[in-house]
Symmetry: C2
C-alpha cells in the first residue's frame, strides 16, 4: 500500500513537471511569434493550450483520488494540496502564453510592439522563459537556490514593466491608442506570467522547508 502511495505521489510530481515543460515550450514559442509577428507559431501556441488545460484537470483528478483513497497526512498531504495550487498557477501561465499569441494573431501581419520597445520586450521574454525553465528545474530537483534566481528574475521583470509604462507616459510616445492598449496588455501578460512562476517557486520552497516567507518575496 505504502509503495503504491509513493508511486502515486511520484506520478503527481511527474505530472507537474510535464505541465511545466509544456508551459516553457508555450512561452518560448509565444514570445518568439510575438517578436517576429509569426502567425503559424502563434496559432500553434493557441491550439496547444488545450493540452495544458487537459493535463491540469487530469492531474487534479488524480490528486483528489489519492486524497480519497490514501488519506495522506502531514507532509504528503501538503504536497498534494500544494500540487493542486501549483497546477493552477501553471495552467494560468499557459493561458498567459496563449494571450500573448492571441495578441500576435490579432495584429498580424503587423508587430504588436513598436520598434522603440522591441528590446524591452525581448528582455521580458528572456526573463519569462528563464523563469519557466527554472520552475521546471525546481520541480525536478527541489534545489532551493533556484527559488532565489526566479525571484531575482521577477524583480527585473517588475523594473522592465515599469519602464514600459514610463515610456508610454513620456511626451515622445507618439503611438496610436490601439498600440498603447496592446503594449499595456502585453506588458501585463509578461509580468503576470513571471508572477505565477514565483508563486510556484514559493510553494515548492514551502513544501521543502515547511516555512512560509511571504515578506522575503514581497521585499524582492
Amino acid at each position: 500500500m505504502r509503495k503504491v502511495f509513493q508511486a502515486e505521489l511520484h506520478q503527481i510530481g511527474e505530472g507537474l513537471i510535464e505541465i511545466s515543460d509544456l508551459v516553457l515550450e508555450a512561452i518560448a514559442k509565444a514570445t518568439a511569434s510575438f517578436a517576429a509577428a509569426d502567425l503559424p507559431s502563434a496559432q500553434e501556441v493557441i491550439a496547444a493550450d488545450a493540452r495544458i488545460d487537459f493535463l491540469q484537470n487530469d492531474l487534479d483528478e488524480r490528486a483528489i483520488d489519492v486524497l480519497a483513497l490514501q488519506g495522506p497526512v502531514a507532509s504528503d498531504l501538503r504536497m498534494i494540496v500544494g500540487s493542486l495550487r501549483m497546477s493552477a498557477s501553471l495552467e494560468r501561465m499557459g493561458d498567459l502564453a496563449r494571450h500573448i499569441a492571441q495578441l500576435t494573431r490579432l495584429r498580424f501581419p503587423n508587430p504588436v510592439i513598436p520598434a522603440s520597445l522591441t528590446e524591452t520586450f525581448a528582455e521580458l521574454a528572456r526573463l519569462d522563459i528563464f523563469i519557466a525553465g527554472k520552475v521546471t528545474e525546481l520541480l525536478e530537483s527541489r534545489d532551493l537556490e533556484l527559488v532565489a534566481e526566479i525571484s531575482a528574475a521577477k524583480s527585473q521583470i517588475n523594473k522592465l514593466h515599469k519602464t514600459v509604462f514610463a515610456t508610454m507616459a513620456a511626451p515622445e510616445w507618439q503611438e496610436t491608442a490601439a498600440t498603447t492598449v496592446d503594449v499595456t496588455l502585453a506588458s501585463r501578460y509578461f509580468e503576470r506570467f513571471g508572477d505565477h512562476g514565483v508563486s510556484v517557486a514559493r510553494k515548492v520552497s514551502y513544501l521543502v522547508t515547511g516555512e512560509w516567507q511571504p515578506e522575503e518575496f514581497l521585499a524582492l
Copy 2:
C-alpha cells in the same frame, strides 16, 4: 466524530461566505472611490485587503487540517478541495478590487476615467457588484439559478469590455497615452473580477450537481 466533522465542514462554508462578503464590500467601495476619485475610500479598500488574505490563509489551513484529521471521501472531499479553489478565486477578487483602488489613488485628485467612459465603467461596476453579491448568495443558498444570473452578468461585462477597447481604437479618442493605459488596466481589472466570480459559481454548481460543464460557460 461525525458531528464534529459536519461542524467543521459547516465552518469552512461559513468562512467562504465571510470572505465573499468582504469581497463584495471591497468591490462596492473600490468602484465607488474609482467613480468619485475618493482617496480616503480607496485607502480603506487597499488596507482592508490584508484581512481577506488573512482569512483565506486561515480557511485553507483549516481545510487542510480537516483533510488530515478526518480523511473525508467522496462529496465531502470534493467540497473541501473546492473550497480551496474558491477561496483562491475570492482572494484574487479582493486583489482586483485593491488594484482598482490603487489606480484611484495613483491618479488622485483626477479621475482615472475620462468623462466619455464614465457611464460604461459605472455599468461595469454595477455588474461586478451584482456578481459579488450573487456569489455570496450562492454560497449561502446553493440555489443554482443564481449561477445563470452570474454568467449572464459576465457576458454583459464582456460586451462592455469590448466597447471600452473599441472606444479607445476609434479616431475620436483623443486622450493621453497615460489615460489609455489606465483605462486598459481598469477595464481588465473589472473584467477579471467578474471572471473569477464565474469561476466560483461554476465550482458551486459542480459541487451541487457533480457535473462539470465548461462548454456551457464558454458559450455564454
